[in-house]
Structure formats: structure tokens, C-alpha cells
């Protein structure tokens, strides 16, 4: 699978559109266990990223992703700004100077993004956060590629794992972020960060399926 810089631009535009479309849903999920701003914050951040895209339209994948990450940090605020911002910046650093990458390099970038989220948020699996959606997705992608599953099918399997991970946050007790203040009452609600991570993964899978 060849993943081009143009596809990364399309992916970011797609994420912005998908987040905007689900803005109220994300905010609604956040009002149940957080502070009712997740959708609005991400929408504001990705709108700013889209506005910046023309300045990196002919740049390498690393520059595109780093610019997206820095713009998210500068506009989103809250916890999701530093977390998603760090994720995109780390993915960009892993792909510096590359105009085209393979599925294996995508895995390296996704690993770097997840490590960034874990380091910045001091989070681990099972705490009812975006990590619970992203980490199983990367695991599934790696396992599928290692067992010789074709890349497009591997990304579909990874997306299914992200979706399952998102749903698995429903019965979890939150121990990180604002939801943790609810204690037992956080159980039964789907994590908004895991949900936004699912939408981003969905757009990534669609973009890869469409190809260059």
C-alpha cells in the first residue's frame, strides 16, 4: 500500500468534516461524564488545521502532520488539545521528509502517536480514555499485517478493533481525566475521547481504502 502526502491532506480534511458532523454528539457524550466541550473544542481545532493546510499542501507528510499537531495544541485547549496535538506531532516526527509511505511506516507513526498520548496524559489501558480505542486498533493492525492479511483488509480489521475498544469504554470505571471524579457513576457512559478517536480512525480507513 502506498500512502501519499495528498492522501494525508485528504485524511485531515475528512477528519475535520467528520468531527464537525458529530460535534454535538461528542459534546453530548462529554456532558454526561465531563464538562460538555469535547465536540466544540475539536471542531474549533480542526477548522483551524484546515485553514492552515494550504501552507503545507506541497510539503512532506511529516510537515503536514506536525503542522496539524501544533495547530491543535494552539487552538483546542482542554485535555484533548495537548493529547491529539502531541499525537499528530509525534506521528509527523516519525515521518519526517517522507512524501510516500508504506503500511509498515504507518504502523510506526501510529505507535509514535499513541506513545505521545500515553506520555502526555500519563494514561494506560483500561482507564476509560482514547487509549482504549486507539491501542487495540494498532494491535489489530500489527497482528493482521504480521499474519499476511492484505493491507486494506488489515485496516478494516483495525477499525473494527477501534470500534470495539470504543464500546468497551462503556462499562469501564474512569480513573483519568474529569470523568474520574464521578467514580462509579462514570460506568455506563461511552468515553468521548474514545469516540473522537474512532471517528478519526474511520476516516483514516476510508482514505486508505480510496487510495491515491
Amino acid at each position: 500500500m502506498q500512502i501519499t502526502a495528498d492522501m494525508i491532506i485528504r485524511y485531515i480534511e475528512g477528519v475535520a468534516a467528520r468531527i464537525s458532523q458529530h460535534r454535538d454528539e461528542l459534546t453530548q457524550l462529554d456532558s454526561a461524564i465531563g464538562d460538555a466541550d469535547h465536540g466544540a473544542n475539536l471542531d474549533r481545532g480542526f477548522a483551524a488545521v484546515v485553514a492552515k493546510l494550504p501552507t503545507v499542501a506541497d510539503k512532506d507528510i511529516g510537515t503536514i502532520l506536525k503542522t496539524a499537531g501544533m495547530t491543535l495544541v494552539s487552538t483546542v485547549g482542554g485535555a484533548s488539545g495537548p493529547l491529539y496535538g502531541t499525537a499528530y506531532m509525534r506521528a509527523g516526527m516519525a515521518l519526517a521528509d517522507r512524501y510516500e509511505i508504506s503500511e509498515n511506516e504507518l504502523v510506526v507513526a501510529l505507535d509514535a502517536a499513541l506513545e505521545g498520548i500515553i506520555a502526555r496524559g500519563k494514561a494506560q489501558r483500561g482507564e476509560k480514555t482514547m487509549v482504549d480505542a486507539i491501542a487495540p486498533g494498532i494491535d489489530a493492525l500489527k497482528a493482521a499485517l504480521a499474519s499476511g492479511v492484505p493491507p486494506h483488509e488489515a485496516t478494516a480489521q483495525a477499525l473494527a478493533a477501534v470500534e470495539q475498544g470504543m464500546k468497551d469504554t462503556i462499562p469501564m470505571l474512569a480513573t483519568k481525566g474529569r470523568a474520574s471524579y464521578l467514580g462509579e457513576r462514570s460506568i455506563g457512559h461511552q468515553d468521548p475521547g474514545a469516540t473522537s478517536a474512532f471517528y478519526m480512525s474511520q476516516v483514516l480507513a476510508e482514505t486508505l481504502a480510496q487510495g491515491a
Binding site: 456532558s31 473544542n41 474549533r44 495544541v73 485547549g77 482542554g78 485535555a79 484533548s80 483519568k176 471524579y181
Partner: protein
């Protein structure tokens, strides 16, 4: 949603412009990135004190910018922490060469954004220290949570630490005093009604006519438990008891008592609560040596209150009494 706003998107900018217009003698406002700073800053050789957080908690923090308190405040979107760009720009604008103390409330977003800003400022050669307030006893077990939230103590700490910086204390000393106030202070809050975040357009949570929420934070996030509405004496007891049973308070202590309104509660009710608090403390042989009653750290129009106690000694009392001149807090000058 019935609010005196032009649009949810412009609430913060419009309010900043209003503050700039109302208090040109005390503060200056910077836009893009947004921050509020002392009109007479930066002050050469003085440790600068910076705080910040989501908007919607007015007068905190912008109302506390001025002589004897904050050198700058960074307002985020409503209930959303500011971004590192704001803190970095404010840090650079107020640094008088003696370093900058960041006062951060323990909320995940605030902590992460301030951490990133401190890393950037340090990379530019500015001496930055930080104190994270975490006074909320409603959060019981920090092993299974993001830790206790920073609430009412933040206001009192900003006043005391601002006074310490004004005396010419160095960054290490100012940080020591900040940590001391945080260690000696405890808070707990409750809500009678939810607030409505402008961009959400509807109440964050629903409370029945005869219900109240105990142990709320300052962002409209639900509290620890929901119980039937009771009278002010019982509510004050429900807030004061967990505070007093969490160290460091003991018989014979002097305390600074702070009864705070969440934005939608009139002063008459806060005085009813204060009266109940004086009885409870008297019963435990604790003396209120200083007090503050009013709405200083709010949650938009939420009805409810919080109680904060800080165990006082001579050093903290002297700093609390020192002159302060800000839009929301002023005495001695």
C-alpha cells in the same frame, strides 16, 4: 438558553474587551493569544505570578490581575483550559527577570497545557516554576482519580502568593509559600442547579426541584452524589465536616474562612451559610481569624456554594492583609 451574549463564539472576546474598557487603570488586554496583564507590568526584578483556566469562573482569574495579586491571567474558552500559546505569550510579557510562577488548578487539561507552556518558556530561557492547587476534599481517592481538583483555595492562594511576590521574595520563596497555602487549605462545594455552557446551549446536568448535588467541581461537572434538598444548616454541615475531618485542622487553630457563591446564589444566602459555618467552627474550637464571603470562583450561573478553609499562621495572615488592588478584590490601597 437565555443569556446576555451576542453569540457563543464571541463570549470570551467580548468580555475581555469589556474588562479592558472598564479597568484601563488596572489592566491591559492582549488578543490572539488572549491574556490579561497588569497595566504597570512587567515589573523589573519582581517574580511574576500567572494563572489561568477556562472562562466562566469570573471574577477568577482576570478579576484578580493587579497590584498585590496576579501579573497576568490566561482565559480559555468557557470551561476549557487555555492553550500553551497564551501562557507562553503571557509569561514572556510579564517576566521582569526574576522568573514566573504558574498557578494551575488540578484539572487534566489545565495541567497538560501549563506543562507544555512551561517547557516552551524554559526553552526560551525564562525561569518558570509551577504550583498545582488540589484542595477539593470531595474527590476522595486520588489513586483512582485524576487527583483532587483545584477549587476555592486557588483564589486565596493567588492573593497570598501575589503579596509575597510584591515583597520582593524570589521565585523559590514564592513557590514555597504557594505550596504551603495549598497544603493548609481544603474546600468542598455543592449545587442547587446546573449551569448552561453557551456553546452547549442547555444545562450540563438536570437536577430535580427537590434535589441537590454534593461535591461538585467548578465546571458544571456532576458531583459525587445527589441527595434530597435540605436546609442551609444541614448543607453547611455536609460541606464543612469533610473539610474539617481532612487534616490539617484541629482545635485551637486560626483559619481563613471563605464562603463562595457559584454564580447564581445571592449574597443573602451566602451569609446564611457563613452564619452556620461560624457555629460549626466555634463548636470545634476553631477561630475564624480572616474571612471572605462572596462569588469569587464561579461556575457561570450555577446556584450553590463552596466552603474553603485555610489554616493560618502569622506569615500567611500578614500576606493576606497586605494591600491589593484588582477589579474584584481590593483593600489597603
Amino acid at each position: 438558553m437565555k443569556k446576555l451574549i451576542n453569540s457563543p463564539e464571541n463570549v470570551v472576546k467580548d468580555a475581555l474587551a469589556g474588562m479592558a474598557a472598564a479597568h484601563p487603570d488596572l489592566l491591559r488586554v492582549s488578543y490572539d493569544p488572549d491574556f490579561i496583564m497588569r497595566a504597570d507590568g512587567p515589573i523589573k526584578g519582581k517574580v511574576a505570578v500567572l494563572s489561568g483556566g477556562g472562562s466562566g469562573h469570573e471574577p477568577m482569574h482576570g478579576g484578580f490581575v493587579g497590584k498585590g495579586m496576579l501579573d497576568a491571567a490566561c482565559p480559555g474558552a468557557v470551561f476549557t483550559s487555555p492553550v500553551p500559546d497564551q501562557m507562553l505569550a503571557a509569561t514572556k510579557a510579564i517576566d521582569g527577570g526574576a522568573g514566573v510562577l504558574h498557578i494551575v488548578k488540578n484539572y487534566t487539561g489545565d495541567v497538560m497545557n501549563f506543562e507544555m507552556a512551561a517547557e516552551m518558556a524554559q526553552a526560551e530561557g525564562i525561569d518558570v516554576a509551577a504550583v498545582v492547587t488540589n484542595d477539593d476534599v470531595a474527590v476522595q481517592d486520588s489513586l483512582y482519580t485524576a487527583g483532587r481538583r483545584g477549587v476555592g483555595v486557588t483564589v486565596l492562594l493567588e492573593k497570598i502568593v501575589g503579596a509575597a511576590a510584591e515583597t520582593g521574595a524570589n521565585l523559590e520563596e514564592v513557590k514555597r509559600i504557594a505550596e504551603k497555602v495549598n497544603a493548609l487549605g481544603r474546600s468542598m462545594g455543592m449545587a442547587l442547579t446546573s449551569c448552561t455552557v453557551p456553546h452547549a446551549g442547555k444545562p450540563t446536568f438536570e437536577l430535580g426541584e427537590n434535589e441537590m448535588e454534593i461535591g461538585i467541581g467548578i465546571h458544571g461537572e456532576p458531583g459525587r452524589r445527589r441527595v434530597p434538598l435540605q436546609d442551609a444548616a444541614s448543607i453547611t454541615e455536609m460541606l464543612a465536616t469533610p473539610i474539617l475531618e481532612d487534616l490539617p485542622f484541629k482545635s485551637g487553630d486560626n483559619v481563613l474562612a471563605f464562603v463562595n457563591g457559584m454564580g447564581g446564589t445571592p449574597l443573602i444566602e451566602l451569609y446564611v451559610v457563613y452564619n452556620e459555618l461560624t457555629k460549626i467552627l466555634k463548636g470545634r474550637n476553631i477561630t475564624i481569624s480572616r474571612k471572605l464571603v462572596g462569588s469569587y470562583i464561579t461556575s457561570l450561573e450555577m446556584a450553590g456554594c463552596s466552603i474553603t478553609l485555610v489554616k493560618m499562621d502569622d506569615e500567611l495572615t500578614k500576606l493576606w492583609d497586605a494591600p491589593v488592588l484588582t477589579p474584584a478584590l481590593r483593600w489597603g490601597m
